[in-house]
Amino acid sequence: MRKLALNDEILLKIEKPARYIGNEVNSVMKDPEKVDIRFAMCFPDVYEIGMSHLGIQILYDMFNRREDVWCERVYSPWVDLDQIMRKEQIPLFALESQDPVKSFDFLGITIQYEMCYTNILQVLELSQIPLFSSERSDEDPIVIGGGPCAYNPEPLADFFDLFYIGEGETVYGELLDAYKENKRRGGSRKDYLEMAAEIEGIYVPSFYDVTYHEDGTIADFRPVNSHAKERIKKQFVMDITDTCYPSSPVVPFIKVTQDRVVLEIQRGCIRGCRFCQAGMIYRPTRERDLEMLKKYAYEILKNTGHEEISLSSLSSSDYSSLKELVLFLIEEFKGKGINISLPSLRIDAFSLDVMEKVQDVRKSSLTFAPEAGSQRMRNVINKGLTEEDILNGAGEAFEGGWNKVKLYFMLGLPTETEEDMRAIAELADKIARRYYEIPKEKRNGKCQITASSSFFIPKPFTPFQWAPMFSNEEYISRAAVVKHAFGEQLNRKSLKYNWHDAEVTVLEGVFARGDRRVGAVLLEAYRLGCLYDSWTDYFDYEKWQKAFENTGASMEFYNQRERSFKEILPWDFIDTGVIKEFLMKEWERALKGEVTPNCRQQCSGCGVLKWKGGVCIEGKN
């Protein structure tokens, strides 16, 4: 029987011991004596969140297909266990073998959002691995980061040995082979980092040096090791049909956020919304073959026993065979007690028809993401959705029996005026009016329109990467303008408005576009006790303010400055395929409120056409 890292006393005392015992269906057990490489794959948040992440399941499956590798999972211990592990000096362990992470060859950490950064430090510290890459010895695991936040790895540069830029399916094999080769030759940690630095897509932060101008902007960023490349090319798989996909993902015992089969139908997005990082860095848009998806739907449902299946992509309505796929799923599985959950679809006749088949109309709500209230603002962000689209979609839905609508907006967008803010409330009201146009006897009581806004955060590699953000106070006052406008609407009793926390927003802003120096703020905040910052109950803004104070870093410098085109941005050394000239052109068009057509309408010359794949060559064979 497996021996657990935690004793019975601890496991019976903490919340949800199932987070720490492994043993789940489809988790992979191997003989540690028979593998060459032990890889600990970590999602730095609590189990229920980490287990819901598709990327880790893909890599876990891919690594474990290799006989010489055993990949295991690690998540952040929840605050109750965190305390106990610190007090009793229990080293953090991987779920499968229950062995300490510090005895592994690699610790891979997926970096999905900025507010998990303190949890990365927690994972390192509880693992008893030195926080700074420079302080690690040959005995310590190689700490490698990946995921969307690795597109600006600089705030984390001191804590990681390597970053993998892009999709994991391409060069991990090479990276692992190089590790074995180095071990065989008796090479040092540095020898390995030098070998890794030569692999495409791999960034070794310690091999680069940054100098700064007096005004704080970057003066120079250059490699200082002959093995390190000038530019790092993002990795991606052109053919996402002929690549590995887990047909037996791990099935957790406890309920997790994504407790269902997830079919990734495509990568990338044709839309080109100017605020959206995913829409830029995952270019070109690539679709998976319909037959492959059908086959996987069967297999994964069979191998997991899940009672629900869902589709994953940035914009499912743009998947060419969506209709066929959805009808197939309904026909095949609906009668077998399998729920089909639909991702955010564009609301039209087809999606309403489908939704009616798979969910209870009376209970479900429709979701629109207009992102901005006024048409002018939507043009600025290149959200190709008109007021007419929204009102028509909502109208059709209301006629079909729906009476609940959710709306998502962003506040604090570039060029936003008070009129744009108020337009959020006005749009919500127009939707309600559309509802009350239906004769009383035909409608289903009152309607409920719930609008939520988050504050816009400029992200690297988007046309808005140069845009200024605002202060905490300014965000709150903008939300107040919207709130006030809601109170003035005719149908205010049918409308509800919520907004996202401004304090988290400004911190996310700093880490999204920060340079190497903000690593010190992160470390200080962690030392002051910040952890689980993405959890409202644990987020402590005062401690973060203190961390800025103690380190002398300026939030305004990172957030409220409009960057010039000439400035060297911390992430400029990464080549995503989308050229900077395109982003500049898009930023200028945004300021003029000009809309850019989507990839299927017309090529706008973003730069990825040179790879000749995906949507770029659709219908051109």
């Binding site: 269906v25 015992f253 069979k302 007690g337």
Partner: protein
């Protein structure tokens, strides 16, 4: 047609709570392709019911769930198919046909549960058992000879004084453990930790780490004796 499944729960699975065990079995039914029936209606769910929940930390060799089948499957095949998709720590022991009568469900007929209680050297490991103290051995007849044993019983809603003596059907010391046969079911239910707490308290002994292991869940048989729930069914050929 209805079937009753008996399973063991041990090892690390003792940390998986009752609701999660239910979810686990729902998924296991699909993986094993057991022809289980669903309820009618907009969101159909599997027709499945557990005889008795088992507390976190307790191991067992006699847990039960009843299911409704849409077509027959032989006991042998069902056990084989289910065991193929189990994790370490849950083993399917038997699969038998039971009466379709609602009054025959495991939940309804459960009348008693028996347990072994092992004293442990430390609460750090409930697998490392120690000998039964002589004092306990000697104390049991006196404890059971009392007129009543009043304890505070906490439920979700209230807290009240209860005499648990009539609910202890059997209690004696064996070589390495105490044996308990206690009332169980929807009408009267006594948990073993409540008995041990009362016993040690009565003995003036400090509460020590204990490992509870359920042996079986029982119904009252025709002759009045308590028989395992699995005895109320017949093998499907």
């Amino acid at each position: 047609m209805k079937a009753r499944i008996k399973f063991r729960k041990y090892g690390v699975m003792k940390f998986i709570g009752h609701l999660d065990v239910m979810r686990y079995f729902q998924k296991a039914m699909r993986r094993a392709e057991i022809p289980i029936a669903f309820t009618e209606g907009y969101s159909p769910h599997m027709i499945m019911s557990f005889a008795q929940p088992l507390g976190v930390g307790i191991t067992s060799e006699g847990e039960y769930l009843d299911i409704e089948l849409t077509k027959p499957i032989s006991s042998r095949e069902a056990i084989e198919q289910l065991n193929r998709v189990m994790v370490e720590g849950i083993d399917i022991e038997s699969f038998v046909q039971i009466s379709g009568d609602k009054k025959a469900s495991g939940m309804t007929i459960t009348a008693a549960s028996d347990y072994r209680v092992y004293p442990c050297a430390s609460s750090r490991s409930l697998e490392e058992h120690i000998h039964i103290p002589l004092k306990w051995r000697e104390g049991i007849p006196h404890f059971l000879g009392e007129n009543q044993i009043i304890v505070w019983k906490k439920s979700k809603k209230s807290e009240k004084e209860v005499d648990i003596l009539p609910l202890i059907y059997k209690m004696h010391a064996d070589e390495d453990s105490l044996y308990l046969l206690l009332a169980a079911g929807s009408e009267q239910n006594l948990k073993p930790d409540l008995v041990m707490e009362a016993f040690l308290n009565y003995m003036g002994e400090p509460l020590c780490p204990l490992h509870y292991h359920r042996l079986d869940i029982r119904a009252r048989g025709e002759d009045g004796a308590f028989v395992p729930l699995s005895d109320m069914g017949t093998e499907i050929l």
